[in-house]
């Protein structure tokens, strides 16, 4: 007999669904209540089930590898544990049918419009309070209701531009809004990276499943922000709290992806009511600021006084209407849990109909009737801080769940009466489950979904996808990433194949080329120091190798040359007793820290190369032995570090930023080279010091080829100081600095016709160009070393102030 296979039947999917058991009373994304596989999942699951075990493993690791290569991580906060973690990817996407998605999207757009109206009211006429639709204390007690923003209309007329909603599906199959993310929602960039990773894992399946693309959403929003500028001379910037923030990676990623400038509060200043960014060319206007910083930190003058993340005077620029803030300051007030108790009434008031997509049932305990209801029904509610901006399953310290306090006792009604307006209660909703892959089989896990909305000239657009949080156990309190939950891609599945589009391929559209010369001074400073630290580390490695080679040859540390070199190393802050001195490790750490400040301008490969270098050094440090072992280790490190510099110099676009990095390297090299030349060619230096100089200057081969004679003071000075063809010479580097300085914008707030650094570089260059080796006295070499030591400060004065 021959029965047609039933695609809804779980036995059709082999082991994959062999242990998939839904939880009674909880809806499941994959299976309907009769235990049949929902249609939207069938073709994807069948393909997944047919993958042999090894092929599946390979698919999953391709996705993981992508995230590692892209450097996607988030910062995890814990007691004594503040580390970067890998992005916790759950490989099985959540599939949603396009018709169902359209309903969700319509409901969320309606809610976004409502929230805009609420925002306009609470920072405007306050009719909702006057008419009794919103209790005054919810604003007055709320630290996110920013009094200085009352009565300040947003430029362009809209308060909200980029928001997110957390939604979940209840037991009856209905979607509920769990949280409004109106402050500065994170995750859109992570959603994109999650999508990229999954498309590596399941490329063909993704195409065959007709999955809606995300790039169009980002492109439209980018163009919208660009068009908010009054003209091309001002710019869009993304305001980040900096690398210590848990989602800094995403800020840098979005900035890089959209081509916007990434700034921190200290990068900006307010002049005559205009918001400006400090660039290497002076102050330049910013007309659109997409903040990833919570409002209260943005201006220490009028908001949180202790903030070091803000820009003094920022509020005065908002009052002057000189820029658009995405989203308006103070939008965090809409995130409070208690507002959900009033949204149904507000919807009726503004729209004349109930919410299309309801929010989770909420009661504010400030009202006597609601409070009595909560007391009578506490067993099916969570009771928590009314002003909490956390999701329903992310609890505060004093939460009451199902009528029980954190110590397990029944909640006292008097406690609810006493706390009253400080409390909000929410119905406990069992979130639906979605499949997660565990040891080759699918298991149902609680799930909530984050959806992003961006305002465009045509109204709100909804990102067709987003990401879902998947609990790491069956309990919905474990959904949060900070509690070990993971994240999966969301596929909105169309009935027809969808057009492939990315942000990058738009041949028929005019493309946007970023203006050169708008490098923020802080970024320039970090690039400059990155160049210096890397060069410095390389120099130290070379000297350490020379030292340990000699130890290996003679096994004696007290030979005159070894002792001489040891003194020189100590002068550089390196302890010769340590094979891998702390002074070297700290240079590499400092280079990585500088690179970390500018991840938006820095290739992932470059970052990985540097991170790998630090990791290698740290793992080598405890087990190296002096002599040959260390000399060889330095060889390994030198190869690794030249891998990094090669990447930078071969692949990095010659933006202004690259110039700063290269100038940093050149300045460091002129300084270091003139420094060791002064020492190693000194008449008092021991025998062998001249060869050491050639070695430290990495010019052994060149020397052999250029000079038929043995090493002399004249040949060393000729090669490492005066040779305009040797990239290791001081003259060569001076010429390089001069050339790069010519590409830098003229800093407009300093009067000098020729920047002091250029003047000094040219003076020294001219002197060296006409000198012969014998004319350069030991005293003059010391003088040159002292002059080059000033270059850094001169550069800072002109460009980095």
């Amino acid at each position: 007999m021959n029965t047609r296979p039933d695609p809804a039947c779980i036995s059709d999917y082999g082991d994959l669904l062999g242990t998939y058991k839904t939880v009674p009373g909880i809806s499941d994304e994959l299976m309907d209540s009769s235990g049949a596989v929902r249609p939207v999942w069938q073709s994807f699951l069948r393909e997944l089930a047919q993958l042999p075990e090894e092929a599946l493993e390979l698919s999953l690791s391709r996705g993981n590898q992508y995230l590692r290569d892209a450097g996607v991580f988030f910062r995890h906060y814990g007691p004594g544990d503040d580390t970067e973690r890998e992005w916790p990817l759950s490989h099985v996407p959540l599939l949603i049918d396009e018709d169902e998605w359209a309903e969700i999207a319509a409901g969320l757009v309606e809610r976004a419009d409502l929230l805009e109206q609420v925002m306009a009211d609470v920072y405007g006429p306050n009719r909702l309070v006057a008419e009794g639709r919103l209790p005054p204390s919810l604003l007055a007690a709320n630290p996110e209701w920013l009094r200085p923003m009352a009565g300040v209309p947003p430029r362009g007329g809209h308060y909200l531009h980029f928001i997110a909603f957390d939604i979940g599906r209840g037991p009856d199959g209905q979607w509920w809004v769990l949280g409004d993310r109106t402050q500065a929602p994170s995750g859109a960039g992570f959603a994109l990276e999650t999508r990229m990773a999954i498309s590596r894992s399941f490329p063909g399946m993704m195409t065959r499943s007709n999955v809606e693309r995300l790039a169009g959403f980002f492109r439209t929003f980018r163009d919208t922000l660009l068009n908010m500028r009054p003209d091309d001379s001002s710019r869009v910037a993304i305001l980040s709290p900096g690398p210590m923030n848990d989602t800094y990676f995403e800020h840098a990623y979005i900035a890089r992806y959209l081509g916007f400038m990434l700034v921190q509060g200290q990068d900006m200043a307010v002049r005559d009511g205009e918001l400006m960014v400090r660039t290497v060319a002076g102050l330049r206007p910013v007309s659109v600021l997409w903040r990833r910083l919570d409002s209260i930190w943005s201006d220490p003058l009028e908001l949180e006084e202790m903030s070091r993340l803000g820009t003094p005077g920022l509020l005065s620029a908002l009052r002057a209407g000189s820029f658009t803030m995405i989203n308006a300051l103070g939008s965090g007030v809409l995130e409070m849990r208690a507002l959900m108790a009033f949204m149904p009434g507000i919807a009726e008031h503004f729209n004349g109909r109930p919410l299309q997509l309801p929010n989770i049932a909420t009661w504010w305990c400030g009202g006597a009737r609601a409070r009595d209801y909560v007391k009578a029904n506490a067993e099916r509610m969570t009771i928590d801080d009314a002003l909490s901006t956390r999701l329903p399953f992310d609890h505060g310290d004093q939460v009451v769940i199902g009528g029980r306090t954190t110590d397990g006792g029944l909640v006292a009604p008097e406690w609810i009466d006493a706390k009253a307006e400080k409390l909000a209660a929410q119905e406990i909703v069992s979130l639906s489950t979605a499949p997660a892959l565990v040891n080759g089989r699918l298991e149902p896990r609680p799930m909530s979904l984050r959806v992003f909305l961006a305002r465009t000239p045509d109204g709100w657009q909804v990102m067709p996808g987003g990401f879902a949080r998947i609990g790491h156990s069956g309990s919905s309190t474990d959904i949060s990433m900070q509690r070990g939950g993971s994240v999966c891609d969301v596929w909105v599945v169309a009935k027809e194949p969808v057009k492939n589009e990315t942000l990058l391929e738009q041949p028929d559209k005019p493309f946007h080329r970023s203006t050169l010369g708008v490098l923020p001074s802080r970024a320039a400073d970090n690039l400059f120091w990155l160049g210096r630290y890397v060069e410095r580390a390389e120099e130290k490695m070379r000297l350490l190798r020379a030292y340990h080679l000699r130890l290996a040859e003679t096994d004696l540390a007290d030979l005159p040359l070894s002792a001489f070199l040891a003194t020189h190393l100590e002068g550089l802050g390196l302890s010769p007793a340590e094979p891998l001195p702390a002074g070297l490790i700290s240079d590499i750490s400092a280079a990585l820290a500088s690179a970390g400040q500018i991840r938006d301008r820095f290739s992932t490969d470059g970052w990985n190369a540097l991170a790998d270098l630090l990791q290698t050094v740290q793992s080598m440090a405890p087990r190296l032995k002096p002599g040959d072992d260390t000399a060889r280790a330095m060889g390994v490190l030198l190869r690794k570090i030249s891998g990094f510099t090669g990447l930078v110099h071969e692949n990095m676009y010659r933006f202004i930023g690259w110039r700063f990095l290269t100038i940093g390297r050149a300045i460091e090299r002129t300084w270091a080279t003139s420094g060791f030349l002064a020492g190693f060619t000194h008449p008092d230096a021991p025998e062998g010091a001249l060869d050491l100089a050639i070695e430290a200057g990495d010019s052994i081969m060149t020397h052999r080829r250029r000079y038929a004679v043995s090493t002399s003071r004249n040949t060393v000075i000729d090669l490492l100081l005066l040779d305009a063809m040797n990239p290791r010479s001081v003259l060569y580097q001076l010429q390089a600095i001069k050339e790069h300085l010519g590409f830098l914008p003229v800093a407009d707030d300093h009067g000098a016709a020729v920047p002091p650094l250029l003047r000094n570089v040219m003076t020294l260059e001219t002197e060296l160009a006409v000198s012969s080796p014998e004319e350069v006295t030991p005293e003059r070499l010391n003088g040159i070393a002292a002059e080059t030591a000033q270059f850094s400060a001169l550069l800072s004065r002109s460009y980095l102030g």
């Binding site: 306050n126 309070v129 006057a130 007055a140 630290p143 209701w145 307010v270 002049r271 003094p312 005077g313």
Partner: protein, 291 residues
Amino acid sequence: MIYDITLRITYSYDSMADADHQILRMIPADLPGEQRVILSNLSIEPQPCERLGRQDFFGNGCVDIAFSDPVSETVFVMKSRVERQEPNNFLDESPDLAGLADELDSFQSVAGLSPHNFRFNSPRIERDTEIGDWARGLIKEGQSVLAIADAVCMAIHSEMTFDPEATTVDTPVLKSFKGRRGVCQDYTHIAISALRDLGIPAGYVSGFLRTIPPEGQPRLEGADAMHAWVMAWCGSSMGWVEFDPTNAMRAGLDHVVIARGRDYFDVAPVKGALRTAGSQTTTQAVDMIAG
């Protein structure tokens, strides 16, 4: 009563300091029915490159300024002639605490001086039960809000010792309360904290107080300082009533108001005073002459 008031505030810095933006609240307020500003003038040295007058959320006048270059000293001199009227709030029409809570429930506004803005934690005053418990020990069942506010301010006056050395402008309210020492700012913050914990909206008033020299001694010019006192919301009928816990009195003819806010944060005479690596010295002199 007409006063001629001069306020002079000087900031001196060891090293040149980046001045950037500051907000000034030092000009007496024009308050119909309470006080009238006949003329006022604020001069600033060095000349700021930006200067803009406006009203803040609470309706206080303030001046936004910015300096383009680093400064080593800034001098603010405010001169004003003000007519002050006797407040008319000595007939107690205030409810008891329960009545006040009901009135607040039906008070549907969060505009500047709405009492709701003065009920909760504010930047310098976190709700504190120790001060609240102390205040609860002072009051009697059924007492009127006005009487409670009087009692709290009298108790602060009698328990505290005026001591300019004990606290600074940044001393937390609980610390000055525990030490029972401080200046008018501390007295006022303690009063606000106590009243809020009892359920009475309370705020901070900055201004000037005419001081009468001890008998037989001449009045010293510029010997006075700026002053602070507390305002308490005594129900819809009486509205805000001002008490001076430092001097155990209601604010009256001798008090001239500059600004009102939730605590010192909202009304500081100079906000955004410069941050500098070196140390800074501030001097403040007030001269208040009855005309």
